[in-house]
């Protein structure tokens, strides 16, 4: 990216020299991203991020006619909204539920369906969904399969992943924000969201060259990131133990889940009787960035529908969802970070408890 900034940027679609140089960088990045999922570079369509990639996949399928689409109750809000939109256009949408132990209820599949879309790794839980199995069954139906692999990239080796559409995002692997890709299998027809010639007419608009190059470069580091996941899991586990020993009543979601079912980089904990927004703000003040629920347009937090779905206890569902925070860890984190986070949590919880 630095080299590119220093040399001046051309438009990859231009005929002149700097345009051709830009084209070189663009195609190089495309090959780098393609290597991450072991597909031919021509299958990679660059987008503004996974949200656009998801929309490109969904709308390619749902824009004409109607049919049955399968998705899950634990999708990222982007796909949830696309599913709602397809439903409003006459599609029948079946949303598979999840057991409290993290198993996707495949027995809820309808007799037949045309399209299935499931995230590979839950952004809120770090849970791995059985997308391979869902993809196989969808193909058996003659349907198309989409997976949002945003959270899987950099945590799991995706070279063996086979799907008709795969959404990816750069900023989850240390790349820049505002760039992503949709990987489209050969032979699958993609309908652009708006007309134009870039990206083989599939995604019009001058390419975000700097972002794309950054995305490609970040993909070069994927093996290192994936190799670090064992260490990340240990950090996560020691954070979980530390939180359980804080002396505040809390409930860990997907506790004792089969380690093979999750990435080990995410911890989701409900503090009962505490508003997660208070913890997010309190920890931010202490220099620790965590998440809770889903941020709405004005910046307030709504209790997560994904967490609400996981809680079987109807009476406590809202309270648990409202008190749930999510701490994500990555290869950048250290033991000191875990200690810092535990100290910050203790300080914030003490302040909140004293105010009652």
């Amino acid at each position: 990216m630095q080299h590119l900034l220093a040399s001046g940027l051309g438009n990859p679609s231009s005929i002149h020299g700097s345009g051709q140089a830009a084209r070189h960088w663009l195609e190089r990045a495309r090959a780098q991203v393609a290597a991450a999922v072991d597909c031919p570079p021509r299958c990679v369509v660059f987008t503004s991020g996974a949200t656009e990639a998801n929309a490109l996949a969904w709308q390619s399928v749902s824009r004409v006619g109607t049919g049955t689409a399968v998705t899950t109750h634990v999708e990222h809000a982007g796909v949830t909204m696309l599913a709602d939109e397809a439903e409003s256009k006459g599609w029948q949408v079946v949303r598979l539920s999840l057991s409290p132990k993290g198993n996707l209820h495949l027995h809820e599949l309808p007799p037949s369906w045309e399209f299935a879309s499931a995230l590979m790794v839950s952004n809120e839980l770090g849970l791995r969904l059985p997308v391979e199995e869902l993809c196989r069954q969808t193909r058996n139906q003659g349907g198309l399969f989409h997976t949002d692999a945003t959270q899987a990239l950099g945590k799991i080796n995706l070279k063996a992943l086979d799907a008709d559409f795969i959404s990816l995002s750069a900023h989850k692997i240390g790349g820049p924000s505002g760039v992503g890709a949709l990987v489209v299998n050969d032979g699958v027809e993609l309908a652009p969201l708006w007309p134009g010639h870039q990206e083989r007419g599939l995604r019009a608009g001058t390419e975000n060259l700097l972002g794309v190059v950054g995305f490609g470069a970040a993909c070069e580091d994927l093996p290192t990131r994936i190799a670090a996941m064992d260490r990340v899991r240990k950090l996560r586990d020691s954070l979980a133990t530390g939180i359980a020993n804080l002396g505040t009543e809390c409930l860990r979601h997907l506790d004792n889940v089969d380690p093979k079912l999750e990435t080990g980089s995410c911890l989701s904990v409900a503090f009962l009787g505490i508003d997660a927004a208070d913890l997010v703000m309190g920890l931010d003040i202490e220099g620790i960035a965590i998440s809770a629920g889903s941020a709405c347009s004005s910046g307030t937090l709504q209790p997560s529908p994904v967490i609400a779905h996981l809680v079987r206890d109807q009476d406590r569902r809202q309270a648990i969802a409202k008190g749930t925070i999510r701490i994500s860890l990555g290869p950048e984190n250290t033991e000191q970070d875990v200690e810092h986070a535990l100290r910050g949590l203790k300080t914030t919880l003490t302040r909140l408890t004293n105010l009652r």
Partner: protein, 383 residues
């Protein structure tokens, strides 16, 4: 005077208002308007560790065009966030929609329904600003919470909270602040109390705030540009009823009790006659009682849920200034009876009408002694 000298003086002045050394963590309740934005900017300038807090209180209806001069609407939260981003301090939006519905909007509707004239700003100060926002501020490690209210707050020689009218009498908000609890008072700061609106706009310009020219918020925030009566009608919540004279004569019907408030003269929809008629009283069943101006005269009124801002309940026979509506003049009045949280007040100067549900606030000169919700108004004509 040189610019740096002005800045130095302002910093000193700001620190005097806050009473904490620079570097201390101070939270600011930000509505997204000019006043609270200037408070935040002055605090940043004076070297405080500022945290901006904006409460999201309600949803703007999807069909409603964003309007100038609103407060605490989603777009105002974005303005507040913009100021924070511009000046580089942390800012959080708090979702208080549920508590606002339960503690402000709900009672507002109930009050109109039962023949009162509610004051939602008082309820909002009581439950949102002095309670929830303050708690949030403290939970974030702030030492005090500053707001953009035009009122002066400090302590008297005995250490009791001293809440006084804002220096800018045109902007003064002391009337709305009477629910201030004595304990919380020492944790709140109103730095604009000693400034005029012109001063505040000048600061906004000097500090380069984007909101410097933003319109004033004057309406009831969640009601917006609508008349409260139309808003109530849209909620489907308000009874119609009869207009009757003091002697019980039926004069006509009306379709919306929220169209009327005690002391109102216009819009009664009565055929013109020789005497000018006023709304004298409203009943929970929708009945509106109409009479001549003399009938408005108040003999006594009760202040329910009286909060002694100074920390001490007034004694029988003590005399204070009594203000019964925003921008209303304080008139001399005497405490007639005191019981748990209820004060009976007798105006000594003529008081022509007091609406149940409005705030009744006692002043000594410009100092707020305490206040409560007006209940049980006895008219001189019935006494």
């Amino acid at each position: 005077m040189s610019k740096s000298r002005i800045t130095q003086d302002v910093r000193h002045w700001t620190r005097e208002q806050i009473g904490l050394p620079s570097g201390a963590r101070v939270a600011v309740a930000m509505s997204g308007g000019v006043d609270s934005s200037v408070v935040a900017a002055l605090l940043v300038e004076a070297g405080y560790d500022v945290i901006g807090l904006t409460a999201r209180l309600y949803d703007t209806e999807a069909t409603e065009v964003p309007r100038a001069g609103s407060c605490c609407a989603p777009e105002d939260a974005r303005d507040a966030k913009g100021v924070a981003a511009q000046l580089g301090f942390r800012h959080y939006v708090l979702d208080e929609r549920q508590s606002f519905r339960e503690e402000v909007i709900g009672p507002f509707i109930e009050s109109w329904r039962t023949g009162q004239t509610p004051n939602p700003c008082v309820a909002c100060n009581r439950s949102l600003k002095f309670d929830r926002l303050l708690k949030r501020a403290l939970s974030l490690g702030a030492e005090v919470l500053a707001t953009g209210h035009y009122a002066q707050l400090d302590a008297d020689d005995g250490g009791r909270p001293r809440l006084r009218r804002g220096m800018d009498r045109g902007k003064d908000q002391a009337y709305f602040l009477y629910p201030l609890p004595a304990v919380q008072a020492r944790l709140l700061r109103f730095p604009l109390g000693g400034l005029s609106k012109t001063d505040v706009r000048e600061h906004a310009e000097r500090l380069g705030l984007d909101v410097a020219q933003k319109a004033e918020s004057m309406d009831i925030c969640f009601v917006g540009a609508k008349k409260p009566a139309d808003w109530m009608a849209a909620q489907g919540q308000v009874p119609g009823g009869e207009l009757i004279s003091l002697d019980g004569t039926r004069l006509g019907r009306h379709d919306n009790l929220a169209k009327f408030t005690v002391g109102q003269r216009r819009g009664l929809g009565l055929p013109g006659g020789s005497s000018v008629r006023y709304v004298v009283d409203k009943k929970a069943d929708g009945t509106v009682i109409v009479g001549d101006r003399d009938a408005l005269k108040v003999s006594t009124l009760d202040l329910q849920g009286y909060n002694p801002v100074t920390g001490a309940m007034p004694k029988v026979g003590e005399r204070f200034g009594l203000q019964v509506r925003h921008r209303g003049k304080a008139i001399m009045a005497e405490v007639e009876a005191v019981s748990d949280e209820v004060l009976t007040i007798r105006p000594l100067d003529p008081l022509m009408g007091a609406a149940r549900g409005q705030a009744g606030v006692l002043f000594q000169d410009d100092r707020v002694i305490g206040g409560g919700t007006i209940e049980h108004v006895t008219r001189a004509s019935e006494a």
